[in-house]
């Protein structure tokens, strides 16, 4: 088994009201920041999957992202492969 680490980025669907993003934009004046637009606030999940190969791991993440981490009616997600899951644990895999 190998460990793969992924990130799932969940953001509000285009066209769906994003009250948090709007509130952030509205506050930039107080921060003295100009020229920032189209702020969208979403969620990010990072997770490690143990699987035999990356396609299997990605399929698991895909399912989690669509069924658990996002709401398809109002959100979209994308999956990223990220570093961090100190890759292979081959020696342990051998022990299984």
């Amino acid at each position: 088994m190998t460990s793969f680490r992924f990130a799932v980025n969940v953001t509000p669907k285009p066209g769906i009201l994003d009250p948090a993003g709007r509130a952030v934009e509205g506050s930039l004046g107080h921060l003295g920041i100009e020229g920032v637009q189209d702020v969208r606030i979403g969620r990010r999940a990072e997770l490690t999957v143990e699987a035999t190969e990356v396609t299997v791991a990605r399929a698991v993440v895909e399912r989690m992202a669509s069924e658990l981490l996002s709401n398809p009616l109002i959100e979209v997600f994308e999956i990223e492969s990220i570093a961090g899951a100190s890759s292979a644990t081959d020696s342990q895999a051998g022990a299984d």
Partner: protein, 763 residues
């Protein structure tokens, strides 16, 4: 070019407009065809949700006159004067279908919508009550819906800072595919600030403020509310409305400030039907027209088609009629609260809603054609072939004891009831709500009606919601009338005088004769009960097509009642107060267990019937209890409803931590007397020396009354006696001997954990 490309069906049908309705539209346009934009506007306005096309003739039969009524049905909320120059505004509304699609946002926007109905009238919202109904709590889908809806109600109400002080959570299999999310809101206003939803004065500006307009809920009014909701047709799902409680909070403050400073001539919230509905209704009420400049409407995203702008249900928006000289001041208020604001049109004198884009007129419809002159359908009503009527009051009955109560320990039954999904404590839900913000909550959720003090006076408002689907499914007249009886009784037992009734009529597809019969019977029950109790119906909402693949919901008229207590010092609660107080039972149990929680547990006898309701007796018992409380005779007052006498007295005990010892005379059978839910009964306590006076007062009101025991100890003990039992009852023998005896601690334990266990929130 067509708004929606033509496939097989002509456009009007795809928008939910029937061929007959299209004919009727042509007739209102002097014979011409509506263009696509006009057709879209008609389709939302002639939806069931906006036009009440199936229910209007029925609603006309409701009693609406009453003492102190300042605004009744037809306005955004009912308003009743409470003295001291103050008035209370209240209304209940459904958000069933949006909540089935997206429980969090559906419930959240439901709260937002009903709050707007309240502050549109010039009232500051002071309380929310949420009446929720779901399917089997074990079903994962139900759990998902409960979780989302509860989070949504809290997410919105907590943030806007309006306390959620009451409501209901009921599980019944008929809601499995179609949950009910009904929300009631209450507001307080100075009577002279009363603001109506009209656009008077040709030449006045029409001003839109609040959030920008996007694609939210396009088709919501027409597709969602008037077509049978179906799980497996995602193409019919409109884009979901997302609520922004922060924007709503700003909208409340800005609207109340505008009203306070006299800057608006009329104010209307935007709900179903969006700008189309707000402009046509306000124009129609004032006998004016409105010319809308489509390009002036602030948008959230580019590329919106005119029809999308006109029917969008983007949340947190308001529409005002403003004198031109007040415009600058209005703009200043909105700017200060950080709300987009724009002049989107002008009031005209031609009676039309006209829409102009880039200087071109692209639609023109008489305002009344969209609202007061919308189509009305004569639906066909037919009762089902199999019915179970309630027996006439006083009719003999030997049918209701064929239940497996014999040999069963009544204490075990009581514990099972107290721990059941429907009767256990709802605290794991309402603890997710802020019930105390505003610092007026005297009694919040959990123990009978909610009580809110009216700051600056000695008065209090008392509010509750009730519905009764389990009797309603057998006898829709009785279900409705019982709901009114129970809701008003819950108010009366605090000492408060019910002021008026708001209602949300949740029913199935009105084109099915049986569903329409249920609706007509429900309205009849509502009217009969309100007349008997002398109460006006001040407003409400109708939600039809509550059906899913698994069938129609049980008819559920949800009743909201607000009452007034003149002196809060006289307030009486349901919990026992003091050791040695006398316990009195007022009223008498009637036969019939069908529809009760006990029957749900033990199984229904097929030949049994629901208990009867005597409206005159109900009125008498409420008059009696209010008088007894005002005379200072009563220490605690509890009504007998779900779970019967046993659950009622167990609640008095649990909520006080005090035990009780009573002797209950069995008139029918242990099941009926202990757990039956026949109406018009109370458990009162008083200082022992007042017991005789209370009994006498009850008899003067024509009510049976008996002192049955006293408060004290740490156990609930109910001895069952044969006194008053008929020979027939003795024959059945064997069941009278067992007394019920349970430590109060044990009662509390099962009651407190029941709901969380049923929902899997707790192991």
């Amino acid at each position: 070019m067509s708004i929606i490309e033509l496939e097989v069906e002509p456009l009007h049908r795809r928008l939910g407009v029937t061929d007959d309705e299209l004919e009727a539209i042509r007739a209102r346009l002097d014979g011409r065809d509506p263009n696509d934009l006009e057709l879209a506007m008609f389709s939302v306005m002639w939806s069931e949700h906006c036009s009440y096309k199936s229910s209007k003739p029925l609603l006309r039969t409701l009693p609406i006159a009453g003492e102190g009524v300042v605004a009744g049905p037809g306005e955004n909320a009912g308003v009743i004067s409470i003295g001291d120059g103050l008035a209370v505004a209240f209304k209940i509304e459904s958000h069933n279908h949006p909540s089935a699609v997206e429980p969090y946002q559906g419930a959240a926007t439901g709260v937002g919508g009903i709050l707007r109905d309240i502050f549109t009238m010039g009232a500051r919202p002071i309380a929310v009550l949420d009446a929720l109904r779901f399917g089997d709590p074990v079903d994962p889908r139900t759990r998902h819906l409960v979780d989302g809806v509860v989070r949504g109600v809290g997410g919105y109400g907590n943030c806007v800072g309006v306390p959620t002080v009451g409501g209901e959570l009921v599980f019944d299999p008929s809601y499995g595919g179609n949950p009910l999310v009904n929300v009631m809101a209450i507001g307080l206003l100075e009577e002279r600030r009363l603001t109506l939803a009209a656009a008077p004065g040709p030449g006045n500006l029409v001003v839109l403020f609040g959030s920008t307009t996007g694609r939210d809920g396009i088709g919501g009014a027409s597709v969602l509310a008037s077509a049978t909701f179906s799980d497996d047709d995602p193409s019919k799902r409109p884009s979901v409305q997302v609520g922004d409680p922060f924007a709503e909070k700003l909208l409340i403050e800005a609207s109340l400030e505008l009203i306070d400073r006299g800057l608006v001539e009329g104010l209307q919230d935007l709900g179903a039907g969006g700008i189309t509905c707000a402009t046509s209704e306000t124009a129609d009420r004032a006998g004016t027209g409105i010319l809308v400049d489509l390009d002036a409407i602030p948008r959230r995203e580019p590329g919106l088609a005119p029809f999308e702008v006109m029917i969008s249900e983007s949340q947190e928006r308001m529409c005002a009629a403003v004198l031109p000289e007040n415009w600058e001041a209005v703009r200043e208020v909105c700017d200060r609260w950080g709300l987009p604001v724009a002049i989107i049109g002008r009031v005209t004198d031609d009676g039309d809603i006209a829409i102009v884009q880039a200087g071109q007129e692209i639609a023109r419809i008489p305002a009344r054609a969209l609202t007061s002159d919308a189509i009305v359908h004569d639906r066909v009503a037919a009762p089902p072939t199999h019915r179970r009527d309630a027996p006439a009051p006083g009719a003999p009955s030997e049918i209701s004891d064929r239940l497996p109560e014999r040999g069963t320990d009544p204490g075990a039954v009581l514990l099972a009831l107290l721990g059941s999904a429907n009767l256990s404590s709802r605290h794991s839900v309402f603890r997710q709500y802020d019930s105390t913000v505003g610092a007026n909550t005297v009694a919040g959720p959990g123990r009978g009606a909610a009580v809110l003090r009216v700051d600056g006076t000695t008065k209090a408002l008392v509010a509750t919601t009730d519905g009764n689907q389990s009797v309603g499914r057998l006898d829709p007249w009785l279900g409705a009338a019982l709901s009114v009886a129970e809701a008003t009784r819950n108010v009366s037992i605090t000492g408060a005088r019910p002021l008026g009734v708001t209602n949300c009529l949740n029913y199935g597809d009105p084109t099915r004769p049986e569903a329409f019969w249920q609706l007509s019977e429900g309205v009849r029950g509502l009217a009969d009960a309100c007349l008997a109790l002398g109460l006006p119906v001040t407003g409400g909402n109708v939600s039809l097509y509550n059906e899913s693949a698994s069938g129609a919901i049980a008819p559920t008229p949800e009743i909201g009642v607000v009452g007034l207590l003149d002196d809060i010092a006289t307030l009486v609660g349901p919990a026992f107060v003091m050791v040695d107080d006398a316990i009195l039972l007022i009223g008498a149990a009637g036969p019939g267990l069908v529809g009760s929680e006990y029957a749900g547990l033990a199984g229904e006898a097929t030949e049994d019937a629901p208990p009867a309701l005597d409206l005159a007796r109900e009125a008498a018992i409420q008059r009696f209890v209010r008088e007894a409380i005002s005379r200072g005779l009563v220490a605690s007052a509890q009504d007998i409803s779900g779970g019967g006498f046993g659950v009622a007295i167990a609640e008095c005990a649990m909520w006080s931590g005090l035990g009780a010892s009573v002797r209950l005379a069995i008139g029918h059978s242990p099941a009926v007397d202990l757990f039956g839910e026949s109406p018009s009964r109370l458990v009162l306590t008083c200082r022992p020396r007042y017991a005789a006076a209370l009994e006498l007062l009850a008899r003067q009101h024509g009510l049976p009354a008996e002192t049955i025991g006293s408060v004290g100890g740490d156990r609930l003990r109910i001895e069952l006696t044969l006194a008053g039992a008929t020979g027939a009852a003795e024959e059945r023998g064997g069941w009278v001997a067992d007394a019920l005896e349970v430590p109060v601690r044990d009662l509390s334990h099962v009651w407190e954990h029941g709901l969380a266990r049923a929902l899997g929130w707790e192991g």
